[in-house]
Amino acid sequence: MAPQPSSVDTSTSEPHLSTARPRAGAGAPSVIQGYQQGGYQRFSSPPIQENVVPSIHQYAPSTSPTASYAVPPPTTAGQSFYGAHPSHLSGSLAGAPSQPSSQAGGWSGGFGGGFGLGSQGMINDATAQMGVQFGRHVAQVGGEYVERNFNAILPLPVVKHYFNVSNSYVLHKLRLVLFPWRHKPWSRAHRHSSNGGSYSGSGRETPSGKSAGAEGYLPPRDDVNSPDLYIPVMSFVTYILLTSMIYGLESRFHPEILGLTASRALAIILVELSAVKLGTYLLNIQGDHTMIDLLAYSGYKFVGTLITLSVGLLNFGGLVYWSVFLYCFAANAFFLLRSLRYVILPDPSSPSSVTITHAQRSRRIQFLFSIAVAQIILGWALIVGIFHPPSPSLKST
C-alpha cells in the first residue's frame, strides 16, 4: 500500500482519531514506536518493515519511551500527531487496509503481517517440514496398507480382467443382450483349451491372463460370452444420468435424486445378488463362477432399462413403452437363462463339474428360470415411478 501525503493524512485520519483516543492511553509508547518506524520506513520495501516492526513493538514499552517521544515532533505537526499515525501505520505495516484504531491496527498488523510471515514463519517452516515429512510417511504407509488389504477384498487384477474390453466386444455384447435369440454358442472359451499360447504372447493380455489363470477364461476382449464389468458400470451411470434428465425435463429434478437413484439401483442389484448367492448356496452349486460374474450378469439389466427409458422419453405412448419394456426384459431374461446356464448347470466337460442327479438338475433349472423371471420384476422396479403419471407410462395403459 502506498503511503499517502501528510496533508491527506491529517484529513483522512480524523475519523480514526476519535476511535484511537480512548485506547491510546496504555498503548501509547508502542504506538509511537510503530509510528516512528512507520514514518521512517514508509518508503522501504515491505519485507524489511515486516521484520522490523514486531521486534520494535516488543521492546518498545521497556526500552526507550523517551526517545520515541523525542523523535516525532520535528517530523510532524503537533496537532496531527495522534491523528497521523493510524494512516502511517496502515500505510507502512501494509497488513490490514482497514484499521479502526491505531492500537489494534499496530498490533494486528504486527502480528498478522510481521509475525505470521517473518520470524514465526521461519519456525513454522522447520516444524512444517517435519510435519510434511511425517504426513508423507504416514500417507505412504497407509496407502500401502490400504492397497494390501484392498487387494485382499477386491483383487484388482481380477477386476481389471473384467474391464479388458474392446469396441467390437462391446457392440457384440450389446447386440447379444438385446437380441439373444439367435446366438449359438453360449459357453465361455477356456484359455488353456484353444488359444492359450497365442494370447499369452501379446503384452496386454499377459497380466489379466495370469490373474485369471485359476479361472482359465479368456478376457472379454476375446470372448463374447464372457461377462464384463464395463457395460454394467457404464449403463449404471447412464441410468442415473438418464433418470435425472427425465426428472429434469419434467422440472422435478433435485440433487438428492442422483443419490436416491443410485442407492435404489444398487439396492436392487444387491437384492438380486444375495438371492442368487443364497440360491447357489442352498442348491450346493459349485461352478467356477465368482461373485464378480454374478455382479456383471445382474448389471446387464440396465441396458434394457436404458432402452426402455429412452423410448419412454420419445413419448410414444404407454403401449409402446410397456411393450418395449417387456421385450427388453424378456431378452434379458433369455440372455441370463443362457449365460447363467454354465454357472448353475456346469458343463460336463468342465474340470470343476460335479455329477448331478436328475432331481438336482430339475431343481437347478427351476432356480435358473426363477432368476430369469425375477429379471422382469427387478426391471420393473428399476423403471417404476420415473415418469410422472401424466406422461407416457400410465397415460394409455
Binding site: G259, L260, S263, R264, L266, A267, L270, V271, S274, Y281, L282, L283, N284, T357, A359, Q360, R363
Partner: protein
C-alpha cells in the same frame, strides 16, 4: 435411502435367524443342527435325497449364523 432400508431388512432378518432357540424351537421343528442324521432322513422319509440336501444346507446356514452372531 434405499440402501439403508436394505441394511435394516438384512439386519433384522439376520437377527431373526440368530434368536431362534435351539432347544425350544429348532429341535421341535426338526431343524436342529446337532440332531443325528437318521432323524432327518426319517423325517424326510421317502423323498429323494435332494430335498434333504437343501434342508441340510439351510440348517447349516442357520446354525452358522447363530454361532457367528451370538456372543454366548
Amino acid at each position: 435411502m434405499v440402501l439403508g432400508q436394505i441394511f435394516y431388512v438384512s439386519l433384522l432378518l439376520i437377527n431373526a435367524v440368530a434368536i431362534l432357540n435351539e432347544e425350544r424351537f429348532l429341535a421341535r421343528v426338526g431343524w436342529s443342527s446337532n440332531q443325528p442324521p437318521s432323524f432327518d432322513q426319517g423325517f424326510g422319509g421317502p423323498q429323494s435325497g435332494q430335498d434333504a440336501g437343501i434342508k441340510e444346507r439351510l440348517i447349516n446356514l442357520i446354525s452358522a449364523v447363530r454361532v457367528l452372531m451370538r456372543s454366548e
